[in-house]
C-alpha cells in the first residue's frame, strides 16, 4: 500500500515527539493531561501528553506511538492541531478530519479513531486531576 506524501512526511519527520516526564512524574502534574490508548497486542499504542495553562489553553503537546505509519502520522498531526487550542476546541477535532488531511485509506481509519480517542483521554485526565467533570465544558469556555 502506498501512503500519501503527508503520512510519509510525518513518519520521517514526526512533530512533537516526546513527553513531559516519566509515567510517574506526569501522574502527579495537574497541568498535564495524559492519554494512553490502544494495546500492544493490537499493534498500536498511542500516548499523548498535553500541557494546559491557567487559561485552559493547550500550550504544548507531545506524543509517542507504537504503531504503523498512519498511526504515527495521525498522532503527530494531532499534536500539531492541539497546540494553541483551548481544551474545548480540542474536543471538536474529529477523526474524519485526520483521515481527510492525511488521505488515509479505509483500512487505516482506526488509526485516526485512536488519535481522537487519545485526545479525549488526555483531556479527561487533565479535567479529572483538576476536579472537573470529564465530559462537561471547562469553566473558561462557558463564558
Amino acid at each position: 500500500m502506498a501512503y500519501s506524501d503527508k503520512v510519509v512526511d510525518h513518519f520521517q519527520h514526526p512533530r512533537n515527539v516526546g513527553s513531559f516526564g516519566t509515567s510517574t512524574d506526569v501522574a502527579k502534574r495537574t497541568d498535564v493531561g495524559v492519554g494512553i490508548v490502544g494495546a500492544p497486542e493490537c499493534g498500536d499504542v498511542m500516548q499523548l501528553h498535553i500541557k494546559v495553562n491557567e487559561q485552559g489553553v493547550i500550550e504544548d503537546a507531545k506524543f509517542k506511538c507504537f504503531g504503523c505509519g498512519s498511526a504515527i502520522a495521525s498522532s503527530s498531526l494531532a499534536t500539531e492541531w492541539l497546540k494553541g487550542k483551548s481544551v474545548d476546541e480540542a474536543l471538536t477535532i474529529k477523526n474524519t478530519q485526520i483521515v481527510e488531511e492525511l488521505s488515509l485509506p479505509p483500512v487505516k481509519i482506526h488509526c485516526s479513531v485512536l488519535a481522537e480517542d487519545s485526545i479525549r483521554a488526555a483531556i479527561a485526565d487533565y479535567r479529572k486531576k483538576n476536579g472537573m467533570a470529564a465530559d462537561s465544558a471547562t469553566h473558561a469556555a462557558t463564558h
Partner: protein
C-alpha cells in the same frame, strides 16, 4: 560497485527468474510452440522433448523417477491435488458420510495446506492440527502421538515459509511408512535450497513451485510415489487425461521447460549457495542482536533454512519498521501488513506474543545477495529501530522498568 536500491530480501516470497532459465524458455514461446500431446508431428515432438527433459531435471533434484513427476500450476495446486486427491482415494467411508478418516497437519502450515484440510473437515474427514513448541518444530513424536487407527494422511511442511524452521521430515516419513499412512510434504521453501531424496526421506507426495527456485511463476510439480507403496490420487481437474490422468489440461510447456532448468541449476549450485547465504543470515542475526537490545530470532536456533530469518524487535511495530527500512524489500508478521489485520498466525502458533508478532521482520536471502547488501541492511534496520524507539511509549515503559505484559491496556 554502487549498491542498487531497493535491495531484495524477500526471496521466500518469490525469486527473480534466473536469466539462464529465461534463455531456456524463450524458444518455447514462438519457435517450439507445439502441443506436447500432439503425437504425430514435429511440433508436438519437440515440445514433448522439452517437457520430458524438464521431468528428468525435476526428478533428479529430489531423487525421484521422472514418471513420478506431475506438473501443476504451482505449489498451491500441488498441495490441493495431494491432500484432496489422496483423501478421496483413501477415505474410510464414501462421500456424504462422516467418519471418512483422520488427517494430521499442523497449525502453522501454509494456507494452501490448511484450507484444503479445512474443506475436507467440512466433507466428513477429521483433522488434527498439531501445535509446535516454541521452537516451531513439528517432531516425529508429535505426529506419532496423534496417529489413530483411522489416520489416512499426514501433511507436514518440510520448512516453514515465515520462520524457516525445519520439521523432522525424514523421521515423520519413516513413521508414516511403518504405519502405512500416506505422507505428503509441502516442500516449497525446502527443495532447491537443501538436498532432497524422496527415497531416503520416505516421502509419498511432495509439492514444490518454480518461482521460489529462480524459475517462472505459474508452474510447479507434485511428486507422486509409484512404488513401495504406489500412491493413487483422485484428480481434481478432469479433462484430456494429461499427466497420467492426475492433472488434465494442455501442458504449460514454456513454464515447465523453465521449471526444469531452474531445478537443474539449483542442483548444481545448491551447496555453494547454501554456504554463502547461511554466512549472511548468521551475520544479520548476530549483528542485529548485538546492536539492538530486546531482539529475538524467532524459531529454532539451528534447525532452520539457510536463507530465511525472522526477527522481532521489541517495542516497534512491523509495518512502521518496514516504512523505516524503505530501501529493503522484506516482509513482516505485523497485522497492518496482512489483509486480515491479524498478526501472523505462524508466530502466534509458536507462542510468540501478539506484541512481538507485530514487531517482526522476515528477511530472506538469495542467489544474488551480496555481503554489501547485508551490511547496508544491518545499518538501515538499526537506524529505523532507533528512530521508532524514540517514538515508542512501550520502549519508555521498558526503560522505566515497567513490565508491559502486566499493564491493563484499554483495547479499542
Amino acid at each position: 560497485m554502487a549498491l542498487k536500491l531497493p535491495i531484495y530480501f524477500d526471496h521466500a516470497a518469490t525469486t527473480r527468474c534466473d536469466p539462464r532459465v529465461v534463455e531456456a524458455m524463450l524458444p518455447y514461446f514462438s519457435e517450439k510452440f507445439g502441443n506436447s500431446s500432439s503425437r504425430n508431428h514435429k511440433f508436438g515432438w519437440e515440445s514433448e522433448d522439452g517437457v520430458e527433459l524438464a521431468r528428468e531435471q525435476s526428478a533428479a533434484l529430489i531423487g525421484a523417477n521422472p514418471k513420478e513427476i506431475i506438473f501443476t500450476s504451482g505449489a498451491t495446486e500441488s498441495n490441493n491435488l495431494a491432500i484432496k486427491g489422496a483423501a478421496e482415494i483413501y477415505a474410510k467411508a464414501p462421500a456424504g458420510q462422516t467418519g471418512r478418516g483422520h488427517i494430521i497437519s499442523a497449525i502453522h502450515e501454509h494456507k494452501a495446506v490448511l484450507d484444503p484440510c479445512k474443506r475436507l473437515q467440512r466433507e466428513g474427514f477429521e483433522v488434527t492440527f498439531l501445535a509446535p513448541g516454541t521452537d516451531g518444530v513439528i517432531t516425529a513424536d508429535m505426529v506419532a502421538a496423534a496417529i489413530r487407527p483411522d489416520t489416512i494422511l499426514v501433511s507436514i511442511m518440510w520448512a516453514n515459509n515465515e520462520i524457516g524452521v525445519i520439521n523432522e521430515i525424514p523421521q515423520i516419513g519413516k513413521l508414516c511408512h511403518d504405519k502405512e499412512i500416506v505422507f505428503h510434504t509441502d516442500a516449497t521453501q525446502w527443495v532447491g535450497k537443501m538436498p532432497t531424496d524422496v527415497e531416503r526421506d520416505h516421502i509419498d507426495l511432495l509439492s514444490w513451485s518454480g518461482h521460489k527456485i529462480y524459475g517462472p511463476k505459474g508452474v510447479g510439480a507434485l511428486f507422486v510415489r509409484r512404488r513401495k507403496p504406489r500412491i493413487r490420487l483422485e484428480a481434481i481437474i478432469d479433462g484430456g487425461g494429461h499427466e497420467r490422468g492426475m492433472r488434465s489440461g494442455t501442458l504449460n510447456v514454456t513454464g515447465i521447460v523453465g521449471f526444469g532448468k531452474a531445478c537443474e541449476l539449483c542442483q548444481h549450485e545448491m551447496e555453494h549457495e547454501r554456504e554463502r547465504v547461511v554466512k549472511f543470515r548468521r551475520k544479520l542475526e548476530t549483528e542485529l542482536s548485538r546492536r539492538i537490545e530486546v531482539t529475538q530470532v524467532n524459531g529454532h536456533a539451528e534447525k532452520r533454512l539457510p536463507h530465511v530469518t525472522n526477527i522481532s524487535f521489541g517495542f516497534v511495530e512491523g509495518e512502521s519498521l518496514m516504512m523505516g527500512v524503505k530501501d529493503i524489500a522484506c516482509s513482516s508478521g505485523s497485522a497492518c501488513t496482512s489483509a486480515s489485520l491479524e498478526p501472523s498466525y505462524v508466530l502466534k502458533g509458536l507462542g510468540v506474543g501478539d506484541e512481538l508478532a507485530h514487531s517482526s521482520l522476515r528477511l530472506s536471502l538469495g542467489r544474488w545477495t551480496t555481503e554489501e547488501e547485508v551490511d547496508f541492511a544491518i545499518e538501515q534496520i538499526v537506524a529505523a529501530v532507533e528512530h521508532l524507539r524514540l517514538m515508542s511509549p512501550l520502549f519508555d515503559l521498558h526503560k522505566e522498568g515497567v513490565d508491559i505484559s502486566k499493564i491493563q491496556w484499554q483495547a479499542h
